[in-house]
């Protein structure tokens, strides 16, 4: 679930600025994509997201979408694993494939001079992957190795415990990487079925940035995606919200405890979203001057870093935070977090603090568009979140329109000190 978290955060903290001109391109075959043309450097970046992701899986097939995604680059069409990698590197193209809780993502960068060949190769991986038995088995061993490492990783232990408490048996409640038991039992047929279920045209979102024209992109889209199945597996149903308040300690032998904390959040399309977004920035934003950084780190030296995030998944909305603190200090740090969670409700935000936060959020806007890859990634995220084409030009005005009244009202609505759950992995003292 951590992947989904960062994907969403990237988008929210991100985008938009008036000088970016986004074109909507529809291919002759009817596939749409968003494009920012920039012919300064002779390459382009392409981002593709298929909605669904690891949440499409049946409980006994946990991990199959992840295994499938990781095996896409291990041979396609006439090329085996080695042949595919050699062909890709000879073109100096970059492809990466990633499975998330709500989507499967494909990122590509390719030179203008050999674009057709690079896209031909990527098309084979997406439409015609081989999933050779030896490749599936080899990648499975790497996945199992990661799963064993995760069992000893305090951050993973904490986030998985938090997810299990919040979502129970829903796919959100367990790791999309699967378990050692489920991944061991997956067959090649399972992987082939997962490919058909997850990569389909009815759930695809595409964005491109760089040295490519709308016409060229249209042709590319049909060639790349036109032969995928029209429909895939049904998307998962609503997630329950089961998170109990309190503190959950998971014993782990380490001098410093890792803490995940959070509560229910606010939907992306809620009218109060922007006040909530600003409030989160005031309390736990990535800035050194955010309240939690000031209180927990700068004033008390209890941690190296602390932050909170508004997380919007397809079926759930949360506010999550995390930090690490030595076992003898973690209890105090948790008390400071609780106290700040209460203070934002009781005291709200000072007028100058609100202004400074707005200036930061609006002014740091253009900094996020630093290259073709980031731009394509932001554009695909906007589409998945249902944002309009002109979102980038209107986003700052929505932040500036938030008033002190909005802040007071939404702080009281959103922040619930009594609802916070803290998962602590370590050997905390006095808890």
């Amino acid at each position: 679930m951590i992947r989904a978290l960062f994907a969403t955060v990237l988008f929210l903290a991100a985008p938009a600025w008036a000088e970016i001109e986004i074109k909507e391109v529809t291919s002759p075959g009817g596939i749409t994509a968003w494009l920012v043309e920039d012919h300064n450097i002779p390459f382009a970046a392409l981002e593709i997201q298929f909605k669904g992701g690891t949440s499409l899986e049946a409980p006994d097939k946990r991990g199959v979408v992840n295994l499938m995604t990781a095996t896409l680059e291990e041979g396609a069409g006439a090329l085996d694993s080695k042949g595919f990698a050699e062909a890709r590197d000879a073109l100096a193209a970059n492809f990466s494939f990633d499975s998330g809780t709500d989507s499967v993502g494909v990122s590509a960068k390719f030179l203008t001079e050999n674009r057709d060949q690079a896209i031909g190769l990527l098309r084979e991986a997406l439409v015609n992957p081989r999933f050779d038995q030896d490749a599936v088995d080899r990648v499975r061993e790497q996945v199992l190795s990661n799963l064993r490492s995760n069992e000893k990783d305090p951050g993973t232990i904490a986030s998985e415990k938090f997810d299990a408490l919040a979502f129970g048996d829903h796919p959100y409640g367990s790791s999309g990487d699967g378990t050692i038991q489920t991944v061991t039992a997956l067959t090649r047929d399972d992987v082939v079925a997962a490919h058909k279920a997850a990569l389909a045209r009815d759930r695809v979102f595409v964005a491109a940035s760089g040295d490519i024209t709308p016409e060229e992109l249209g042709v590319l889209l049909d060639r790349l995606l036109g032969d995928l199945p029209a429909t895939g597996a049904p998307l998962p149903g609503a997630a329950p919200w089961l998170l109990p308040p309190g503190v959950t300690v998971v014993d782990f032998p380490t001098p410093q405890s890792t803490v995940f904390f959070g509560q229910k959040g606010i939907p992306r399309d809620d009218p109060d979203f922007f006040p909530a977004f600003i409030l989160n920035e005031v309390v736990g934003g990535g800035r050194f001057t955010a309240r939690l950084m000031t209180e927990v780190r700068e004033k008390r030296g209890l941690t190296y870093g602390i932050g909170t995030y508004i997380v919007n998944m397809d079926q759930a909305d949360m506010i999550l935070g995390q930090f690490s603190a030595s076992n003898d200090k973690v209890a105090e740090a948790i008390e400071v977090v609780r106290s700040e969670w209460g203070r934002i409700v009781s005291e709200g935000v000072a007028a100058d603090e609100l202004e400074a936060t707005k200036t930061y959020l609006t002014g740091s806007f253009p900094l996020r568009f630093d290259g073709n890859g980031p731009i394509a990634s932001i554009l695909v995220g906007m589409q998945m979140d249902g944002m309009p084409l002109d979102y980038i030009t209107t986003r700052n005005a929505k932040i500036e329109a938030v008033t002190m009244d909005d802040i007071r009202r939404v702080a009281a609505r959103l922040f619930r000190p009594e609802a916070l759950q803290f998962v602590v992995v370590g050997q905390p003292e006095g808890m």
Binding site: S149, P255, T289, T359
Partner: protein
């Protein structure tokens, strides 16, 4: 690389590349010795300011490990003009981000901000080059923060602990054997006086490089640099960095770190390796290509083919080298064995693969693919002005010239099979090497064949 918070700036990738002929780069020096580099990129109205001090953890006084990094944190505490802890807040209120990072050879500070706010951040960065104010309370609290940083990034991480132990064993005389974050018992003793004496000696215009990259005009930058940095007094404590050098290493070193938090045991080996030198990057370029051939690709590299494909004795194998240092660095290899394969077995398999490689040499097609990627890397690199700034700042801070930095991709492209093999024969010598095993505590270790 340790930083004030977060991951720091872009990590250096093994095959990480080159410069940049297409980007207009202007360089000049101020009378007080400040070196200035302007990199123009007018695609977006954004600018990056970086100040790189040519001093790092390898320049610390003995017994004060961690002071370079500690000072980096304290640099955000304030000056006569900037109130305590207000530095980052002022930048953020203008819509900018700022941070800093420390390595063995340099310490760097940077801001990313709208291009029309450049003057503000130049004024602030110049101000704290000579006018830092520190209170005892600042020092006491921030020391707790860096102890938490060490706990989070090193003490809680068996991989980091193994690397730290291996470096300590690798470098018999060079200060590169001391961790950047510092040894815990020495961090606990670092004082305000330690920080200030290091600051007053090393933080000065004649020991720094200023990089301004983005939507700027070099003439405007020059005027602003003169206005804010030009008046700063140079330090008379700057001397060439002649550090203790490694003696001939005559004996292989081996160590094992057992930790109950380990799930996947592995073998790592580092060999002492030559770095990039001013005017002479040929050997470093060959080592860079060698690392890529041996372990740069999960499907085609020599180690992956032999240990993961031809036989399934490993789940992961890689090789890594970064020649960007002042003194000799390391060339590394790591292999995670498949379940049921012991560390002893995988290490002897690894050595057999290296022996075969030394006898047979690389696949010429693989070398050709690397050249193609180097050339493409130049194109892709132009997409990130921040990474270009990083490349110049780092290169100049380790004593390279602008010509060296701009010639690096050419040096990589010129590497021949003979160059690779000569470099391989020199570096892959176990008398120069440290081999580390990361294991679980005794009960589970061994007896796994």
């Amino acid at each position: 690389m340790f930083g004030r918070y977060g991951a720091g700036v872009a990590a250096i990738v093994v095959l990480a590349l080159p410069a940049v002929a297409e980007e207009p780069v202007t360089t000049f020096n101020l009378d007080n010795g400040l070196q200035v580099v302007v990199i123009e990129d007018h695609r977006a109205p954004v600018v990056v300011q970086m100040v790189w001090y040519r001093v790092g953890a390898a320049d610390e006084p003995p017994g004060s490990s961690g002071i370079a990094h500690f000072l980096e944190h304290l640099m955000f505490k304030g000056t006569e003009k900037v109130a305590p802890n207000a530095f980052s807040g002022i930048v953020e209120a203008q819509g900018g981000d700022d941070n800093a990072f420390t390595s063995w050879d340099y310490t760097a500070y940077f801001q990313r901000i709208s291009a029309d706010r450049l003057e503000l951040v130049m004024e602030m960065e110049a101000d704290r080059m000579r006018n830092l104010r520190l209170t005892e309370e600042d020092v006491t609290t921030e020391r707790q923060v860096i102890l938490e940083e060490r706990a989070q990034r090193t003490d809680s991480n068996p991989d980091a602990l193994l690397s730290e132990q291996m470096r300590a064993a690798q470098f018999q005389n060079s200060p590169y054997g001391i961790p950047v974050i510092g040894w815990r018992h020495e961090i606990e003793e670092l004082s305000r006086e330690d920080a200030l004496s290091y600051y007053e000696r090393f933080y000065a215009p004649n020991n720094a490089t200023l990089i301004i990259a983005g939507d700027v005009d070099p003439d405007d930058v020059k005027a602003l640099a003169e206005k804010y940095y030009g008046a700063l007094a140079p330090s008379d404590g700057i001397v060439p960095r002649m550090r203790p050098q490694e003696p001939p290493q005559l004996s292989e070193r081996r160590l094992a770190l057992a930790d109950e938090r380990v799930s996947e045991p592995y073998v790592m080996r580092t060999y002492l390796a030559q770095e990039r030198d001013p005017g002479d990057q040929k050997r470093a370029a060959a080592l860079t290509v060698l690392a890529d051939l041996l372990g740069g690709n999960g499907q085609t590299s020599v180690l992956a083919r032999a240990l993961q494909f031809d036989r399934q004795v490993a789940v992961y194998a890689s090789a890594f080298y970064d020649g960007s240092s002042i003194d000799d660095g390391t060339f590394g290899i790591a292999v995670v064995p498949a379940p049921g394969v012991s560390l002893e077995t995988i290490e002897s398999d690894l050595d057999a693969v290296l022996e075969t490689f030394l006898a047979e040499g690389p696949d010429p097609a693989a070398l050709e693919r690397i050249r193609t990627q180097v050339r493409a890397g130049e194109i892709y690199a132009r997409d990130s002005v921040e990474n270009l700034a990083q490349r110049y700042g780092q290169g100049l801070s380790i004593g390279l010239t602008v010509a060296d930095i701009e010639g690096w991709d050419e040096a990589l492209s010129a590497v021949t099979e003979a160059d690779v093999m000569e470099a391989a024969r020199l570096v892959l010598d176990r008398r120069n090497a440290v081999t580390g095993w990361l294991t679980r505590p005794a009960v589970e270790e061994g007896a796994k064949e």
